[in-house]
């Protein structure tokens, strides 16, 4: 919502583009290999990831511009690695605000300062704040440079019918309606996914106590990019307030509504202004500010039972809704897009069988359930659901004023990348390794020469050889072999002595590792990684 007198996309700092429906009506009904419904961050990332593999796609979006309702602001380190592999990370690095620190306060007194894991061996910071409009704009600029992606705005998908080896989409835009065939469909159309409805599927899970108003304000507030959580502050007794800095002097303020507080009244402009003013007073800010936008939010953990439905894959919010506290909504959506893209591309060009696609749902739904477990803990601390949780939360906060160990209970422990431990395409671990990432885990970062380990990864699979003697027989069009020095920082991060090797997937997760690899072992793991192995 926007203040009275301002149109829906009339922003203080961002010019929303206006996109037209396709004017050229010829060949709109031509078949496409991949259709993607929803040109938000997740849909655009999927299109870019497919294009990088040489696969053409058509993006459909019912709107005429970027999202105004959805407002992700935190992009995690792992997502910057994804954006880098899409060739899109540069404008993000320039615009966003990296951060590592969070502070929690109880009744105005600081009870916790936490640092997210960071070190000089990391190429990217653990978290970056940037408005979703810029996320979409920067991805869109990359899409405009990409001839393999066609985008159709103001184009609503109104039907999805199964057919042999594909689906038929019905599409309606301001000029008319048409049907086209797609071999595969990616549904990236968000929390209220139309495709999900058309397929007769429903999200299942839990709703949590606690409703929050989220408001963006513009002000010259002098405070570093540090996430602040205010528990039981004077400005909102019994509630929780979150404060995040964003680029362009925009500040995100989330404040919890009291039990019984009427939603319609809470989101009336005058009440939002009064509530925001009270928060700013609590923060010690006395200058002028302008209200940019606000909305209301409640925490849910909802997911589809299966993210695949025949030829249709659900990616991002269409497949799962997670509470904001874990900052995994957008970040998990980007990982979904990357995961399905590398697999689908290999099936489409015949390098892998369709069995590879069966690994998408277990891997990415597993990541969602992991987020649920963590986010549920955060949600219970932020907004205790019952008297018991409330008492213990208050006891922890009160104790934290004098005993820091209790303040750690307020640590949100955000963004631990998920390990695909139970994936059907990940190989069993070699028990000989003393340390390092297990198969299924993301590849850790390390400095190599003047760059980073992630810079050395090939376009497809990568074999990291720590002085392993594997001959020349392994180089193929989907495998890049990278030699690492024994004793180097990278070798140490991998817990890898001389002769060891790691096989890394196109999404930078570990597929397999060996203390003593042989070409036959590597070939078998590669085969398994593309869905061809046996359990």
């Amino acid at each position: 919502m926007r203040p009275a007198g301002r149109a829906e996309t009339d922003s203080l700092y961002f010019d929303y583009p206006q996109f037209e429906a396709p004017a050229d009506r010829a060949r709109l009904d031509a078949p496409v290999p991949v259709a993607i419904v929803g040109a938000g961050p997740v849909g655009m990332t999927a299109a870019l990831a497919l294009a990088r593999e040489g696969v053409a796609s058509v993006l459909f979006d019912a709107k005429a511009t970027f999202n105004d309702g959805s407002r992700a602001i935190c992009i995690a380190r792992q997502s910057y690695h994804i954006l880098e592999r899409l060739g899109a990370v540069a404008p993000f690095l320039e615009k966003s605000l990296g951060w590592t620190t969070g502070r929690s306060f109880y009744r105005g007194r600081q009870i916790l300062e936490f640092e997210m894991p960071d070190s000089p061996r990391e190429k990217y910071r653990p978290m970056y704040n940037i408005e979703q409009q810029y996320i979409e704009q920067f991805l869109w600029e990359a899409i405009e440079r990409e001839p393999l992606i066609e985008t159709r705005w103001q184009s609503e998908v109104t039907g999805v019918e199964d057919m042999d080896g594909g689906v038929t989409l019905s599409v309606r835009d301001p000029h008319g309606s048409y049907r086209l065939r797609a071999d595969w469909l990616l549904a990236a159309d968000g929390a209220r996914s139309a495709v999900r409805g058309l397929r007769g599927l429903r999200l299942k899970g839990e709703n949590y106590e606690g409703r929050y108003v989220i408001a963006d304000v513009q002000m010259d507030h002098d405070y570093p990019t540090i996430r602040r959580a205010l528990f039981d502050p004077d400005c909102r007794r019994g509630g929780t307030v979150l404060v995040h800095r964003q680029p362009d002097n925009i500040w995100r303020i989330d404040y919890q509504l009291r039990d019984g507080e009427d939603e319609a009244e809470a989101i009336a402009e005058a009440n939002v202004r009064a509530s925001v003013a009270a928060v700013l007073a609590e923060l010690g800010y006395t200058g002028t500010w302008e209200l940019e936008w606000w909305s209301i939010y409640s925490a849910n953990t909802l997911a589809l039972d299966d993210y695949r439905d025949g030829r249709v894959f659900f990616i991002g919010d269409s497949a799962h809704i997670v509470p904001i506290f874990g900052v995994r909504g957008l970040n998990n959506g980007l990982a979904d897009a990357q995961n399905v893209a590398w697999k689908l591309a290999r099936v489409i060009d015949g390098k892998a069988g369709e069995a590879l696609l069966d690994s998408y749902s277990p891997e990415r739904r597993g990541a969602t359930l992991d987020v649920f477990a963590n986010a549920s803990k955060s949600a219970r601390f932020m907004t205790p659901p019952t008297p018991g949780w409330q008492l213990m939360r208050d006891a922890a906060l009160s104790l934290a004023l004098s005993h820091p160990f209790a303040g750690e209970l307020a640590n949100p422990r955000q963004m631990t990348p998920y390990t695909y431990a139970d994936s059907p395409i990940v190989s069993p671990d070699d028990p000989g390794f003393p340390s390092g990432p297990v198969p299924g885990a993301p590849l850790p970062e390390a400095r190599v020469g003047s760059g980073y380990l992630s810079d050395l990864l090939g376009p497809g699979f990568t074999l990291l050889s720590i002085g392993a003697d594997l001959g020349d027989g392994l180089v193929g069009d989907d495998l890049t072999v990278v030699a690492l020095q024994p004793g180097s920082e990278a070798a140490e991060m991998l817990g890898a002595g001389p002769g060891a090797a790691y096989l890394v997937r196109p999404d930078s997760h570990i597929a397999a590792r060996w203390m003593h690899p042989t070409p036959a072992l590597v070939r078998a793991a590669l085969q398994r990684s593309i869905g061809g192995g046996r359990r």
Binding site: L391, D394, L399
Partner: protein, 59 residues
Amino acid sequence: MTPGEVETVYEALATTLDSVEASRRELFLAKLALLLAHDIADTGRVRRRIDEAARNLDV
């Protein structure tokens, strides 16, 4: 702990509970429980004590 030591703790708890505002007694006891649990540093033992303390509350 000798019976005398237990009695000392018992008395300190009683007088402190009386000095705490009635609406804050639960909070005080919950804080104390967390603090003592942290000192004991034995999750299994603390959980057994939680179960034991929950018994016979209506007798």
